[in-house]
């Protein structure tokens, strides 16, 4: 459980950081959708 939580936090941090620096709305949108899918998968798990 702790490991999964840690992975989720690290991946979220990586996505958040990418969103902050990427200069394309389309890519930002894709990253945010990836984050949402990851959140649903994590919660489902």
């Amino acid at each position: 459980m702790i490991n999964m939580l840690l992975i989720f936090f690290i991946l979220s941090f990586a996505i958040g950081l990418s969103v902050a620096f990427i200069r394309s709305k389309v890519v930002i949108r894709m990253l945010v959708m990836l984050f949402a899918a990851m959140h649903v998968a994590f919660t489902g798990w």
Partner: protein, 407 residues
């Protein structure tokens, strides 16, 4: 619930920010991701201190989201949010310190929720009472409960509609969770009756303030923000009343999240069409956008707990718990306040849907694709579904949440 509302909030955020400049677009999404992660952490944390850290993190993320519009009123609301939440969180921290001193006996305290009930049972009741009062006042900034409710009302009014939908549901639930976990941990101690009195008092005062301000609300989103205060008041009262009130409190907070999120999403769409949140300038929405008007009317039925809204079940259970316990004074007072709230909501929503606006020239008449409204119908559909059918796993989930509380 957090995951479901994350998906709908992100979807409505994409629509709301369609023409936004890149820098603000990025800041909005970074802050939203930070908020979701912090809330997930607060939901899953197993100790008082970790909950506190994650709740504090939500303050920073929400501040960036409230300031999204970069207007003077957004700046004022942001500063107010940061200041009041910081004070509230500091009070909650003092409560945790009290708790630590009380249960530690001079050693390093273990404030995990697994060990807290056993340690609290041996602690000094006076210190436990002080700790509980500090915690409830502190986390009321997040739950939007009296006495620190003002900050959430301002934040919900000013924030972009998808953010308002998110923070008036899932973030309020985080505040409730923090209070509920302490309440559960102290439930077996001698201060149980005291906690119930504090919750009922706080809930009643929330209802009083909400009903009073809703009767004079002239801002559509502010009206919904006060409605959130009212619903959190109901949750606090149901929890304080006990018995089947526990079940009612959890059910109500779930259903309120779906209903309020749907209504706030619709407020964002109505702004696109009418160009205003001012009640006096709103009107004729049925002609402008029939699907949106249907959402508002359906949302009105759901939020005022009129059957087939599932919130009817939770409020009915709360009233039944009051009647069973012989608390008729609270019952009458709650019913009276809810009547004012229903009157305020009905007059205002019907005005938006059917009346003629004062200033039609303000209308933006931007087109909204009805497909974008489907998510709101789905959320209200869930609320109505749960009025008729509560699946066994859903019931078991709520029963497991309240399982540790005295019958």
């Amino acid at each position: 619930m957090l995951s479901l509302l994350t998906v709908t909030t992100i979807y409505h955020g994409f629509i709301y920010l369609k023409n936004e400049q890149l820098k603000r677009y990025a800041i909005y999404h970074v802050a939203l991701i930070a908020l979701i992660v912090a809330m997930s952490g607060a939901y899953l944390a197993n100790s008082m201190t970790m909950v506190w850290i994650f709740v504090e993190a939500t303050t920073l993320a929400v501040s960036a989201l409230i300031y999204h519009d970069r207007s003077a009123i957004a700046l004022e609301a942001t500063w107010k949010y940061v200041f009041v939440c910081s004070v509230g969180i500091a009070l909650a921290y003092i409560g945790i310190l009290f708790l630590g001193f009380t249960v530690s006996n001079g050693t390093s305290p273990d404030l995990s929720f697994a060990t807290l009930p056993a340690m609290a049972a041996k602690a000094n009741p006076l210190f436990l009472k002080i700790a509980f009062v500090f915690v409830i006042v502190g986390y009321s900034t997040k739950m939007g409960l009296f006495p620190m409710h003002t900050v959430t009302v301002d934040a919900h009014t000013v924030a972009p509609p998808p953010v308002s939908a998110f923070i008036s549901t899932t973030l309020m639930n985080v505040g409730f969770l923090a209070i509920f976990r302490i309440y559960s941990a102290f439930a077996a101690t001698t201060i149980f009756a005291f906690m119930n009195h504090v919750l009922i008092l706080s809930g009643m005062l929330s209802l009083l303030v909400a009903s009073g301000y809703m009767l004079k609300a002239k801002h559509n989103k502010r009206m919904l923000a006060y409605s959130s205060l009212e619903n959190m008041g109901i949750v606090a009262i149901a929890l304080g009343v006990g018995g089947i009130g526990y079940y009612a409190a959890i059910l109500h907070i779930i259903l309120h999240s779906f209903t309020k999120a749907g209504l706030f999403y619709q407020m964002g769409q109505s702004y696109k069409i009418m160009g205003t949140y001012e009640l006096d300038n709103s009107g004729g929405y049925l002609n402008l956008y029939p699907a949106g008007a249907a959402v508002l009317l359906l949302g009105l039925i759901c939020i005022t707990a009129i059957p087939p809204s599932g919130m009817f079940i939770s409020e009915f259970m709360m009233f039944k718990a009051m009647a069973v316990n012989g608390e008729y004074f609270y019952l009458i007072l709650t019913a009276l306040f809810l009547t004012f709230v229903a009157y305020a909501l009905f007059t205002r929503v019907l005005h938006i849907v059917y009346s003629q606006p004062r200033d039609k020239e303000m209308y933006l008449h931007e087109r909204v694709n009805p497909v974008q409204t489907i998510s709101q119908f789905v959320l209200f559909g869930l609320v109505i579904f749960l009025c008729f059918v509560q699946p066994a796993p859903f019931k078991e989930l709520i029963e497991s949440i309240i399982g540790g509380l005295p019958k």
